[in-house]
């Protein structure tokens, strides 16, 4: 589902990622850990097609990132959803509008949209905030809107960049449950966090630790998978 080979990325002369190689099967759950500045966000953005591939190769959900024409990029983004560390939601629209956006963009019929959005908002305890404008809700709620918008499309791959960063313990657990649900139904999840407790709570998940842009450790053998 995800195959990354010798991936490096630089911002100017600074190498944010160096020679990253790993691969994930369909339905894997990966925790991406590492201190701030390790390169987690950069890796996520590369996998989502938001940064151009500079060195190495990467494939995700059947798309070869090296040869993906910009005008085909939206097809990748329909299979690979992302929760950004800084949310990237529309502050002047309601919670409902933000979560419905990816479905509307896909041309889904209205009552389907309603059904799905309602279910996802309930799952994330946002149903009572449906009609609030996003700039008027708390940071934790905004974060959950970002998560809701990603999971509402039932993606093949779910990339989540520190989605529990602004949440208290109870909400973190609830959010984890949402991710687990998707994982159980076959979604491949990449979850960036440095919350050790959260990682330990998910037995069977793969863990990849980054440090200064390089792989510092993994709880499975990176060599045996991939080509």
């Amino acid at each position: 589902m995800i195959n990354v080979r010798y991936l490096s990325h630089s911002f100017g002369r600074y190498w944010a990622l160096k020679n990253i190689t790993f691969s994930l099967e369909k339905g894997d759950f990966l925790f991406l850990t590492g201190p701030s500045g390790a390169g987690k966000t950069t890796l996520m953005r590369l996998l989502h097609g938001s940064l151009p591939l500079q060195r190495g190769a990467a494939a995700i959900a059947g798309f070869d990132l090296k040869n993906l024409a910009p005008r085909k990029r939206y097809l990748l983004r329909r299979q690979v959803a992302i929760v950004f560390q800084d949310f990237k939601i529309l502050p002047d629209r309601s919670v409902w509008d933000n979560v419905a956006l990816p479905l509307i963009v896909r041309g889904m019929v209205k009552n389907q949209v309603q059904k799905r959005v309602r279910a996802v908002l309930r799952g994330l305890s946002l149903d009572r905030k449906s009609w609030c404008l996003c700039r008027e809700i708390s940071g934790g709620e905004q974060q959950r809107v970002a998560v809701a918008r990603a999971v509402v499309v039932n993606p093949k791959v779910l990339l989540a960049d520190e989605p529990t960063g602004n949440l208290d313990k109870k909400l973190s657990v609830q959010l984890m449950e949402v991710f687990r649900q998707f994982h159980v139904h076959g979604t491949t999840v990449v979850f960036a966090t440095h919350n050790e407790e959260l990682i330990r709570s998910q037995s069977g998940a793969k863990v990849l630790a980054l440090k200064d842009g390089s792989i510092a450790g993994a709880n499975w053998s990176l060599e045996e998978t991939g080509v």
Partner: protein, 294 residues
Amino acid sequence: MRVFRHLLYQGIVNLGRNKWAQVFTVSAVTFVAFLAGLFLLLLFNFNLAVRSTQDGIQYQVYWQSGYSMDEINSQWNDIRTWEIESIRTYTPDEALQGLVDSMSGDYDPGHLSKNNPLPATAVVEFSLDTEQGEDLAQEILSRLEQLSGVERVSYNPMQMDMARTWLAVTSKVFWPLIAFMFLITGLVVANTLKLNQINRRDEVEILSLVGASSIYIKFPLLITGALQGLIGGVFSVLLLKTVHLLIKDILNFPPIWVSIEFLPPLYTGIFVAALVGVGIMSSFLTGKDQVRQV
């Protein structure tokens, strides 16, 4: 089709977002377009005024006296098919009659009518316009001079010079000026709209991140741009019409008697369509940049 309607609707709804920004944008477009329109109106009327003096340039053609009238008649019929406005013809008899009529008293032409010394003449009248230029004047002149039996062709050199000068002015100044004005207007309008759309950059970015195709993102932008151009264009025409009503008759007194004409519907249509076009173009270019950057 549902998606298409949704996108069309989005394009219209976009106008309602950020209301003050929209008001400023459309006002700026209206104002620039109004100035351009005013300029166009003045040029148009100036052109009309000058053109009215150059209508009816005349060549007077004199045949050799005694030349065969049958021959001359067939030449006259031929001339009628040329690109001219009118031809007035005088046979020697008619010329003589005219001469007699102009003399007071009852002068008897008697022997003159038997042995008429007057030549056949014709006054060929035509007008110059920009497309044909002065080639037409030259061509008509040489064709007239080459007719067999024609003795000489005379014309008023002052009038010809005036017409020629104006033709040169229109082709060298008038059209370039209009083209230049359209360019300036286009640039100003395009930049105004572009600034307006940069406000919506976040939205474009987010649409792209959640999987919208670039057509899906651009189409509402195009609609918004087209509407902004259209609204600005229509407002500026209304403003222009109001101003026209106010100034229409300021020159309409003796001895000038010029009433200022409004632009013909075709010009007005082209004017508004050009603004819509600029709106679409600028949105297209802005949208292209933005989608690429995400």
